[in-house]
Assembly symmetry: C2
Homo-oligomer: 147 residues x 2
DNA sequence: GGATTTCTTGACACTAGGTATCACTAAGCT
DNA sequence: AGCTTAGTGATACCTAGTGTCAAGAAATCC
């Protein structure tokens, strides 16, 4: 029975987090967390619906994604074509590097544009209180594959 | 008859631009350009559909918005709640300041994050070739109104 | 364990936003 | 005025998601 817990440390952490926050650990939620852990690094709601199969209702998949996103266990990625995808979230506010060739997503470390934005926006009289940034490009593997 | 042309210099410019590019200047396209000129600084497709009324079909509204966006006569704004809006576009690549209180949108001038992004992304092996940035905050008017 | 309480589920209907089809219309050209 | 082809719009369809609510099942309390 150790194989299950070693396969998905994030699942266990997420269950702890939800339990501590007063959410019930229902069968659908457990199944969704396991399904998410088995997905590639990001997934769309539709992909998750198909991955988890008829064991969990469609509405529950959307509800659970939203709840996990609000609890900061998942983060949103806006892909280049505008579709929304999700992935495990570590830290708080951060951005993503999205490979437009293979779809791979990396967290963008060390981005500090807040101060620049605040200064630029001040010229228009705006007080900045948030921003959304996605960065598109090509990952090392994809570039190597075509060189 | 001068009132029409003085009311909408952008409409005339847009018609010139489309004509020069080989697009036919149809009645629906003319009506849409006039309707867009009469909208507030940004609008959703649905708002435009209602503004133009039954004189133009729904599909044509979407098609025309897409065409104008591809031709760079309109630009897309992603509002804080995720809805897509459109507005007249001046330059090429630029960003927006969106007031989360009154909805006003300003173009963000002088934003130069490309080099920073390229440097940060290089740490992950990514070559950056594009990005999407929207900035949310509160405009001068809205701040004054609540002070 | 069993009863209770409250949260959660899932079927379903519904909405918003947008696209594919295709017969018909009308710009633009001569 | 006639021809050619781009453009239109009715319609059907689609994806992504939300609201409703009766029934089910966690957690809690005994
Ligand atoms: Mn992330
Ligand atoms: Mn703009
Ligand atoms: Zn790649
Ligand atoms: Zn404002």
């Amino acid at each position: 029975m150790s194989s299950q817990s070693t396969l998905a440390p994030r699942v266990h952490a997420a269950e702890q987090s939800l339990g501590a926050a007063g959410y019930r650990l229902t069968r659908p939620r457990r199944e969704l967390l396991r399904a998410i852990a088995a997905m590639p690094d990001h997934f769309t709601p539709d992909e998750l619906i198909h991955a988890v199969g008829p064991a969990v209702g469609r509405a529950t998949v959307f509800r659970t994604i939203r709840m996990l996103t609000e609890r900061d266990l998942l983060c949103r990625v806006r892909l280049e074509d505008g579709t929304l995808a999700y992935r495990w979230s570590g830290a708080g506010h951060h951005h993503h590097l999205v490979c437009v060739s293979c779809g791979r997503v990396d967290d963008l470390q060390g981005c500090d544009i807040d101060s620049d934005l605040a200064r630029l926006a001040a010229a228009s009289g705006f007080a900045v209180d948030g921003h959304w940034l996605e960065v598109y490009g090509r990952c090392a593997d994809c570039r190597a594959r075509e060189a």
